[in-house]
């Protein structure tokens, strides 16, 4: 044993123990993991919240020095971005200008023309200001050229020089251009973008105050023009700035101005996410979600798929959070952009392990205890999980040694994330899985308790003509019972599933709601006048340095103790005139004697003027600098205290500066139009928005109507029983279109039909009376009747019924004991029969429809009917009643005449060598009953209980050949080419060869010529002499009775009670393989031309085998109890079991696709018509299912009096008719669509 093996074993054992632990104490473990997740995520609280808004920091202006690059000791109040010099120092000169006193002779243009005109002299002053040989040119921020995309702004924004921005830029800072400008408003507004804009516009940029505060409007009621001259300085010279301030103040004194001048604000800008960066980010997230979707889609066979998927995602996400938290705890600060590396981390860590775990646990045998299942599942995947994890760790460690900081950090996160993910998988997810599986088992138990089918009403003896159309719908308690929604795990088309999911969870509404809330939150957070500024103001108010960050909307400024209350209020939009302060510097002309509606403008300074830029968009500075290709992302600027400038102009001056056109063309109207224009656009936008909203609501409403079921909201209420005739609709209200399929009734048998055989053209049936009838499978005509030799027609089936009951009782007991019990049990029972029967016959209910006397061995066709418990609970119940009084066994209504030999199950172990009852059988020539039937060409092979093999001509009804080599009853027959294989009750297998003495020539009756090519078997003409010889007999083919025999593709496959499947070659009857793998007797086998071999056993397991190599391809546990029948299509395996569940499995992966809950007792009758059409039998009806999606397509009722009769056998013919065997009637149902397809 190598080290590897030992390691593997140890790991497996450890995982096993761990699984036991997790499944045993789910709640404490989940609590423990939650606590550890929270603990590890705790350090995350220290990380700043992500946001794109700028951050401010205020320092004093007097003792300012450029912060050094190295972080200093006192980091207490300094943010970590406050290092190194800023991008620029911003000096703003805030100009407020008014023409006063206002004169009635002035036109509205005068409000701003002359105040704006003064900007040029101010600019001149600033440019020429020199303080000890330092001029502005040496200090200011030199910009080179605009970005290429901004050519149209080239004439406006400064290039190749100082970054000095003022309204004068509109006129290239030239007075003469301004003077000759006929329409100032037009010049100002021509660069404004149309529509709604969020970022800073050119007007904002140049004026430096919000557009509505400039006063450059014909409707300004205050008649004060406000603008700023913004100077960007590259280096800070305190003395120069101070001298400039003093000079400007001296020139234009602003009395009544109490603006603080002792602090500067540093504004740090985060990295802004532009659309260009957003698109890759969004793409990665879309890929991430697709990955998660495709991964979690594979979770199957659990109680709550979505719950587990959520748990998987939670596992990965919280492991990432834990990773970041742990890294932060140990001193590593994340520098990468978390949002953009997050998807990659998720993808690297992956959801694979979680899915592997789920699959492994789910595929453990269902009959085990939950914790054992978990433990087994864990331990079986332990090695691969460890191996994968080791590989990933190694890969990531390699990545760590690339020595690139970013990759190193990524790898570090990934390593910690992987480890914590492993931890969470082991503790969190495993526990969740155990809880889920326990819930599923509980649900299964609950489901199996109530039996749906009560006693059916007594059948109405209404004569039903063959080929009668089904009766009109009438209320009846029974139709197909669909599964409760929780168990119905159907495969709908994907788009429908998406739509249904959306409708069910109201996902769209919720997403819209959440989106709206988030959007509002973002708006509030990032709005310059919103919460953020408020918070920032609060913070800066509390901080000792910055007391000035008061938001404008606070209105009252407590930091200005000496301030005039009126002055702080007066700039608010409130239009009421306040009395002029007496200490107004310049004397203004006498106000109008009459108390004057024309108020003179006044200039006042308030606290909100301190930081004018706050009222602008927070993108103001970034966009200004970005025009010159200077990014402010992750950098900061320092804003110096503003210099207030007050300008008072004479009316005279204003009139002098007028442009001739100002008075000519009606300025009022033009002003009105511009004003109206802005108003109109606003209204237009509002109306458009309203309209769009209404349309959207209507559209959504229509969509909702179209997509959602009408009984939305009452989902799951009316699921129970449906009336017959109501089309069955699934849980989403989807009901298939109505179409009528009228079944053909084939009547003639007097007793229950037990054997059915068909080769597509002909159909042979044998009833309990031993009568064989041959039907034309196309038309339903009875062609031949082969009576049992001399058998009296009135032979009863009473005994058979009782025997059937007994057999089924025995079937319920252990198989091993069965055939030892039976022989002793039978004779006394039989003897009691005759005397007691007549007395009991009378008013007893007719049990025959309830009792499944399906002893027949079905020939190998698409339909497989297991040998097993076709009755389900009904017969069990019936039997249990009878068990109390043994005489109750014989209560069947038919008048008994002669006791018949009991129809024994082929599975019974007793060799009926001269059974005692044969003495009782009336005429001597009646030999035995037919136990198995096969039909090929026009030859019927019938295997009798006496061991006799007979070959009948199907058309003429003559016995062609007879072979009496064996004495043990033939339980199963296979007829392939010219060979017949017979399985006998004693476990031996006989190979016969059918010899035709004359070469096959004339084609017999073969139905319509078009279909004649379908059956591949040879035809025998009536003149041929046919002999049947035993070529080989395998005496001990199996240790125990052979239960199933199938032949196809030159192979004969037998399944037996001894848990093995054997494969024989048909030509030389050589045993190729003995397939072992089941832990119970084999109950169902499927083999077809493509060499697909599937077997199902009593252990509920289904094995797929490779016939060529004899290896097991897959092994799944799907049923509780026996697998009663198995069919394979190209893509899936369909199995039904005693649990009345039809499961559809993916053939290649062995994953259960979905399952259909059948009615009690109807589980085993199923057939596949084409690759996408499944037929199942129910109570008096057959249902068609779309195999791809699991949709119920249609239910066809077979006849009036068939209610309560189970469809016991379903035989799919080649021409897609379905023969159902219920009671003594056969029913032919054509599915025309399949016919068309085949043609």
């Amino acid at each position: 044993m190598t080290v590897r093996e030992r390691l593997r074993q140890n790991i497996s054992a450890a995982f096993y123990r761990h699984g036991l632990l997790c499944a045993s104490y789910p709640v404490p473990i989940i609590l423990f993991t939650s606590v550890s997740i929270l603990t590890c995520c705790y350090p995350l609280l220290k990380l700043p919240l992500p946001g794109t808004g700028p951050v401010e920091f205020t320092t004093g202006a007097k003792d300012y020095s450029v912060p050094s690059h190295e972080p200093q000791g006192d980091l207490g109040e300094r943010p970590d971005w406050y290092q190194g010099p800023p991008v620029a120092y911003i000096q703003q000169v805030l100009v407020k200008a008014a023409v006063s006193p206002w004169d009635s002779s002035l036109v509205p243009v005068d409000v701003f023309r002359s105040p704006l005109g003064r900007v040029f002299s101010l600019l001149e002053e600033i440019r020429n200001h020199v303080y000890t040989d330092r001029s502005l040119e040496t200090l200011c921020l030199q910009v080179t050229e605009l970005l290429p995309g901004l050519r149209r702004m080239q004439s406006i924004l400064p290039e190749h020089g100082c970054l000095l921005v003022s309204p004068g830029n509109y006129w290239q800072n030239r007075r003469d251009l301004f003077d000759s400008d006929p329409d100032i408003l037009k010049t100002v507004h021509q660069h404004e973008p149309k529509g709604i804009h969020t970022s800073a516009t050119l007007k904002d940029l140049l004026f430096g105050v919000p557009g509505k505060n400039t006063g450059v409007s014909l409707y300004s009621r205050k008649r004060v023009v406000t603008y700023t001259i913004t100077i960007a300085l590259s280096s800070y010279d305190a003395r120069f700035v101070a001298s400039l301030r003093a000079r400007l103040k001296q020139l234009h004194p602003s009395v009544n101005c109490t603006l603080r001048e002792d602090h500067m604000v540093h504004v740090h800008f985060k990295e802004e996410i532009g659309i260009a960066e957003l698109i890759p980010l969004v793409t990665t997230y879309i890929i991430l979600f697709a990955y998660i979707y495709f991964s979690t889609r594979k979770i199957d066979m659990v109680k709550s798929k979505w719950g587990l998927a959520l748990a998987a995602v939670v596992t990965v996400l919280s492991s990432l959070l834990m990773s970041v938290g742990l890294c932060t705890l140990f001193g590593l600060t994340p520098t990468l952009n978390g949002g953009s590396i997050f998807p990659y981390l998720v993808v690297v860590i992956g959801l694979e392990n979680v899915l592997v775990l789920t699959k492994s646990v789910v595929s453990t045998p269902v009959d085990l205890e939950v914790k054992l299942r978990i433990a087994q599942g864990l331990s079986s995947e332990s090695w691969s999980i460890m191996k994968n994890m080791a590989t990933e760790l190694v890969i990531i460690l390699i990545g760590y040694f690339t020595l690139v900081p970013a990759i190193q950090e990524f790898c570090l996160f990934a390593v910690v994330g992987l480890v914590s993910d492993f931890f969470l998988q082991m503790f969190f997810f495993t526990t969740v899985l155990s809880i889920d599986i326990r819930r599923m088992e509980l649900a299964d138990l609950n489901r199996r308790l109530p039996a749906e089918a009560g006693m059916p009403p007594p059948p109405k003896p209404g004569p039903l003509r063959p080929r009668e159309a089904p009766p009109p719908p009438r209320p009846s308690p029974h139709t197909i019972t669909l599964q409760a929604p929780a168990f119905r795990n159907l495969r709908l088309p994907k788009r429908l599933r998406v739509v249904y999911f959306l409708a069910r969870t109201r996902l769209a509404q919720r997403i819209i709601m959440v989106g709206t809330v988030i959007w509002i939150g973002i708006l509030v957070y990032t709005d310059p006048a919103g919460l953020r500024t408020y918070l920032a103001a609060q913070v800066s108010e509390q901080s000792p340095l910055g007391e000035a960050g008061l938001p404008p909307h606070l209105g009252v400024a407590p930091v200005f103790p000496g301030g005039d209350p009126t002055s702080t209020l007066s700039v608010l939009p409130a239009p009421e005139p306040t009395p002029l302060p007496e200490n107004q510097s310049q004397g203004h002309g006498a106000s109008r004697p009459g108390g004057a509606p024309l108020t003179s403008p006044q200039i006042s300074w308030g606290s909100e003027d301190e930081e004018v830029w706050r009222r602008l968009s927070f993108r103001y500075w970034p966009s200004l600098f970005s025009y010159y290709n200077i990014t402010l992302a992750k950098r900061y600027i320092s804003i110096l205290p503003v210099i207030p400038v007050t300008l008072h102009l004479n009316p005279q001056e204003a009139i002098e500066m007028r442009h001739p056109q100002d008075t000519q063309h009606a300025p009022r109207s033009s002003a009105k139009t511009t004003d109206l224009q802005t108003d109109l656009t606003l209204y237009k936008v509002a109306a458009l928005g309203l309209f769009a909203g209404v349309v959207l609501v209507l559209l959504l409403f229509c969509l909702y109507r179209v997509l959602c079921p009408r009984n939305y909201g009452q989902n799951g209420v009316q699921h129970g029983r449906r009336r017959r005739g109501d089309l069955p609709c699934d849980e989403y209200g989807y009901s298939p279109p109505v179409s009528e399929i009228s079944p053909l009734l084939l009547r003639g048998h007097s007793m229950d039909i037990e054997c059915l055989a068909s080769d597509g053209m002909l159909l042979a049936s044998c009833c309990l009376a031993g009568q064989i009838r041959v039907w034309d499978a196309q038309t339903g005509d009875c062609l031949t009747v082969i009576p049992n030799n001399g058998y009296i027609r009135t032979h009863t089936c009473t005994l058979k019924c009782c025997c059937a009951i007994t057999v089924h009782l025995l079937n319920l007991t252990d198989w091993g004991k069965e055939h030892t019990v039976w022989p002793y049990n039978e004779p006394p029972l039989r003897r009691r029969v005759t005397p007691s029967r007549p007395t009991l016959f009378g008013d007893q209910p007719d049990l025959t429809p309830l009792i499944d006397t399906n002893f027949g061995e079905l020939p190998p066709s698409h339909t497989t009917v297991g040998f097993g418990f076709d009755f389900g609970g009904l017969v069990e119940k019936a039997y249990k009643e009878h068990e109390a009084s043994p005489t109750m066994h014989f209560t069947a209504p038919t008048p008994p005449v002669t006791p018949a030999p009991p129809q024994r199950r082929r599975s019974l172990g007793d060799p009926p060598v001269a059974p005692p009852e044969r003495i009782n059988v009336s005429p001597g020539e009646w030999d035995s009953s037919v136990w198995s039937l096969e039909l090929r060409g026009n030859l019927i092979a019938a295997g009798r209980s006496s061991g006799k093999l007979e070959l009948w001509d199907a058309v003429e009804g003559t016995l062609r050949c007879c072979n009496e080599d064996g004495s043990s009853g033939i339980t199963a027959l296979a007829f392939l080419n010219n060979r017949i294989v017979a399985a006998r009750l004693n476990g031996s297998l006989d190979f016969f060869t059918v010899d035709i003495n004359k070469p096959l020539g004339l084609l017999q009756y073969r139905g319509p010529p078009g279909r004649a090519s379908l059956p591949s078997s040879p035809c025998y003409s009536s003149e041929d002499v046919i002999s049947c010889q035993l070529t080989r007999s395998v005496q001990c083919a199996h240790q125990k009775p052979i239960t199933v025999l199938r032949a196809a593709a030159g192979r004969v496959v037998t399944g037996s009670q001894d848990h093995t499947v054997r494969v024989y070659r048909l030509e030389d009857s050589c045993c190729l393989f003995t397939l072992q793998g089941h832990s119970g007797g084999i109950t169902a086998i499927y083999i077809d031309q493509t060499m697909v071999l599937a077997s199902g056993g009593q252990d509920g397991a289904i094995c797929l085998w490779d016939v060529l190599t004899g290896s097991r391809v897959s092994h799944v546990y799907g049923h509780r109890g026996d697998v009663t029948s198995l069919v394979c299509t190209n893509s899936c395996v369909i199995s039904s079991g005693l649990d009345d569940l039809i499961c559809i499995w993916d053939r290649s992966t062995g994953i259960k696709l979905y399952s259909i809950q059948q009615e009690v007792g109807c589980g085993s009758s199923l057939g596949v018509i084409s690759d996408s059409l499944l037929v199942t039998g129910g109570h008096g009806c057959v249902s068609f299912w779309d195999l791809n999606y699991g949709d119920l397509l249609q239910t066809v009722y077979l006849g009036q009096n068939s209610e309560g009769q189970h469809v016991r056998q379903l035989l799919v013919l080649d021409n897609a008719a379905i023969v159902c065997d219920f009671g003594s009637e056969l029913s032919l149902v054509y599915v025309p669509s399949v016919l068309e397809k085949l043609d």
């Binding site: 697709a290 990659y344 970013a406 179409s739 190209n1130 779309d1186 025309p1232 669509s1233």
Partner: protein
């Protein structure tokens, strides 16, 4: 029986036209080609955006304002190339007779695409000390991508061949002045370009194989039906 034909309208034949469309070889090829083309165009746009942010490639300035910040011919070229590659891979698999077995699931394909975008992201965003380091890292990542998601010799061979061809084509394009790289370090282009091409080929091949899987399934079914 006449009315029973209506069953055909809902059950089996409901998928009739669908199946016939899928199994029709040319239509199937067209569908797959279109899907691959779409994926290629989309990835080209997105990844180009990554490169443009970093000013790795420079297109003439008047084009930059046009659709999605790259020259108009880039996305169609990438789309066509990816469609060709995506169709070529399953074809070669079939010719060689060694079908691709490894992890043929959509989740794995998604993972592959995510890693590919991540490699591009790393090439555009991460600061490396020098170009050699960058190229070596990307080469290792690309080979890792192949090992994780492909592992077939044909895939590797085809990937290397196409990557070399594409690099040559890019060299020619740059040489003729169609566009240029801001800091070429390998003749006229960047040395990591072959790695990116290789990873892209592997990714598109993965997608193409996954798409072809559907066709295989349906065709098989049809053969069995017949």
């Amino acid at each position: 029986m006449a009315e029973a034909t209506r069953l055909s309208s809902n059950g089996t034949a409901q998928r009739g036209p669908y199946i016939s469309v899928i199994t029709n070889r040319t239509t199937n090829l067209l569908i797959r080609g279109t899907m691959l083309f779409g994926v290629g165009v989309f990835l080209a746009l997105v990844l180009n955006l990554l490169q443009v942010q970093r000013n790795v490639t420079l297109f003439p300035p008047d084009v930059i304002s046009s659709i999605f910040s790259s020259a108009w011919w880039v996305p169609p070229c990438c789309g066509t190339a990816s469609a060709l590659i995506g169709l070529l891979y399953p074809c070669i698999d079939r010719r060689l007779g060694e079908p691709h077995k490894l992890k043929r699931e959509w989740s794995s394909v998604m993972r592959c695409v995510a890693v590919f975008v991540g490699i591009n992201h790393a090439s555009a965003k991460v600061d490396f000390a020098n170009n050699v380091q960058l190229s070596l890292t990307l080469a290792a990542l690309s080979v890792g991508l192949w090992w994780t998601f492909d592992r077939s010799r044909s895939g590797f061979g085809l990937g290397v061949a196409i990557a070399l061809l594409a690099t040559l084509a890019t060299q020619l394009l740059v040489y003729n002045g169609v566009f240029q790289y801001t800091s070429p370090d390998f003749l006229y282009i960047r040395s990591w370009l072959p790695c990116i091409f290789f990873a892209g080929v592997i990714t598109m091949g993965n997608i193409g194989r996954q798409l072809a899987l559907y066709e295989c399934k349906v065709v098989q079914e049809k053969i069995h039906q017949d």
